[in-house]
Subunit: 361 residues, 2 copies
């Protein structure tokens, strides 16, 4: 039923990519263990400095000789008015009070030039360290960046939430494209229409995308087991990218409170919010999401809002308090388990084989 | 890969149900042709009187000797204040003006007692005419109604959008349950949590439901071809219910303008709105949806809003004007074709067999 285009390109055994979850989830142990188990481990490097990236790449190379990858956020222009900042802080200050944090009026903000320079530094390290696979979220990098990476023989993979975005990825020279269904946890990857509207379920998104691009398509969103893998393959994907399923694994660096929230959640609890970062993202509804709900359409864009909520998220996490941290999760939390990566991948493949999956020779 | 629990129970050849689309789409020819081609044709009888139902059942029996089914809307209590009515008409009057319709201040409204009595009359006809399969949307009928239908050996099937709703259907004695993913066109079947939140994609919804009920699960939402059928089966469903794919068929009674809108749409154009009926439903974004967007959260409930917009929808349809009619569609319009039912079903099964589907003997 399957052709092995994806596994051959990535030089991996099983068509399973561990989603590059940013913010400390993708420990070196997680990434290495996924690659050692036959999948593709990925560093979620969106928020990391070039030095941190270099350090982690070297650490992972000590733990595995298999291919692994890295994901970066493509910088988007942003701006914010003094008024927007003031009103955002006005919404956040009552929450700071609940956490005994200082009220804030002013915050040191990122500027686009710095964000862009950081991105270029990230790219440089990836080339220097010869990471075999580099993926992108929130857009498509410039022609120059793509050309440089390709010259270094790095396999490139973009993210798309619509057919149009997938076509743009192909046009830009991406070797593969991850299509993110509405089921997915964490940040939406939309970059052409950034409203909430392009929330397409994978049952619709995969076949419509594969009919319109020729590069291999990887499906992401709500996939947790062999059933999901085989469904994605039936729909035309060459493999899957799984986030939540790896997030609750023993090796993941996610906060214990975050893991427990997922393990105890129902399918309708992960909701869309832009309150944490300024970008729409799916996480389990908690006190922060509820208290910010009425304001979320008027908050500053990413990464401004992300910077503004940093003190709140850090303090809440340090207190093991799930009320004010981002509990990113896809729509299948009932299928999450706290197990080892090895067992997760073993079970996925055993189930997939029962459903007709044929392993590459 | 498949057990044949669903096809055996329904006494049909292929695990394909034509979704019961209300409002004139499910002509006798469409229903009969689906059943004659090996699927299960369904009358969308939600808005029909008992007499109209009887007439159509008799007509279909002339056209097929195979089983077919019928779907009813379970009545929900509703109320509306004079203020709500006035403001709803205030929003609708500018649209009436564009269509050269009379402005309205007062409308003859349904009351719950009448709606409920109509439902009981519908049930009676179904029993008298011995329709073999009866399905429900918007809730679960009373114990008495379920018991009576079961005594008449009618197979019962409910609709669920969450795991909890599926469990409630099983508890109430339903023989099967249709799970409606966020991809689905037309009205959302939510009946426990009626907010927009339980919009679960099928990739997440099917496996989480099948893990929690023992009755056969039928998947609905965005499924258009053999790829979707096999994906649903991999996820644990026993079959599929397809709406949009049948709506654009030659035999469907959908307005030509509606069919063309689907055939020309992209995957991100069908959006959620409650402007047409007072219930959330997915349809292709048109002038009506855009003009009502800012008011939709404050409109009267179903079926009040549905009654209020009736003159507008009828007139727009009569003028072949797609601006003010409900262009219900799931999220896979790019996969829609204008073809015969026979060819659609033949193609689905040929593709499914290529992907590993094993036909019942």
């Amino acid at each position: 039923m399957l052709n092995h285009e994806m596994t051959e390109l990535l030089k991996i055994k099983y068509p399973i990519i561990q989603a590059p979850m940013a913010g400390g989830v993708t420990t070196s142990r997680l990434v290495a263990e996924v690659s050692n188990s036959g999948g593709l481990g990925m560093i979620g490097a969106g928020y990391m400095s070039a030095d941190q990236i270099r350090e982690q790449i070297r650490e992972i190379k000590q733990l595995t000789s298999k291919p692994f990858g890295i994901n970066l956020f493509v910088p988007n222009e942003f701006e914010v008015t003094k008024n927007e900042l003031e009103s955002a802080n006005q919404f956040l200050n009552p929450i700071r009070q609940q956490l005994n944090l200082h009220q804030k009026d002013q915050v040191e903000l990122p500027n686009f030039k710095d964000v862009f320079e950081k991105f270029i530094d990230q790219i440089k390290v990836i080339m220097e360290e010869k990471v075999p696979i580099c993926t992108f979220t929130f857009g498509i990098p410039s022609r120059e960046v793509i050309a440089e990476l390709k010259q270094s023989n790095i396999i490139l993979m973009g993210t798309a939430t619509t057919v149009t975005e997938a076509i743009e990825n192909q046009k830009a020279g991406m070797d593969m494209v991850v299509v993110q269904g509405s089921e997915a946890g964490g940040h939406r990857g939309n970059f052409i229409n950034c409203s909430q509207e392009s929330l397409i379920g994978l049952m619709s998104l995969i076949p419509q995308v594969v009919d319109n691009v020729s590069i291999p398509v990887v499906a992401a969103g709500g996939i947790m087991d062999g059933r999901g893998l085989m469904a994605a393959i039936c729909l035309g994907a060459k493999g899957v990218q799984m986030g939540t399923a790896f997030l609750t694994c023993m090796e993941s660096g996610a906060n214990k409170v975050h893991k427990e929230a997922i393990l105890n959640a129902n399918e309708d609890q992960p909701v869309l919010t832009r309150s944490f970062s300024g970008k729409w993202a799916r996480g389990i509804k908690n006190k922060f999401i509820v208290e910010m709900q009425n304001h979320e359409k008027h908050l500053p864009d990413f990464p401004i809002q992300n910077t503004l909520t940093q003190d709140i998220r850090k303090t809440s996490a340090a207190q093991n308090n799930q009320d004010f941290i981002s509990l990113w999760s896809g729509q299948s939390p009932r299928l999450a388990k706290n197990q080892t990566v090895e067992l997760l991948i073993k079970n996925i493949m055993a189930e997939a084989k029962k459903l007709g999956f044929i392993e590459a020779k």
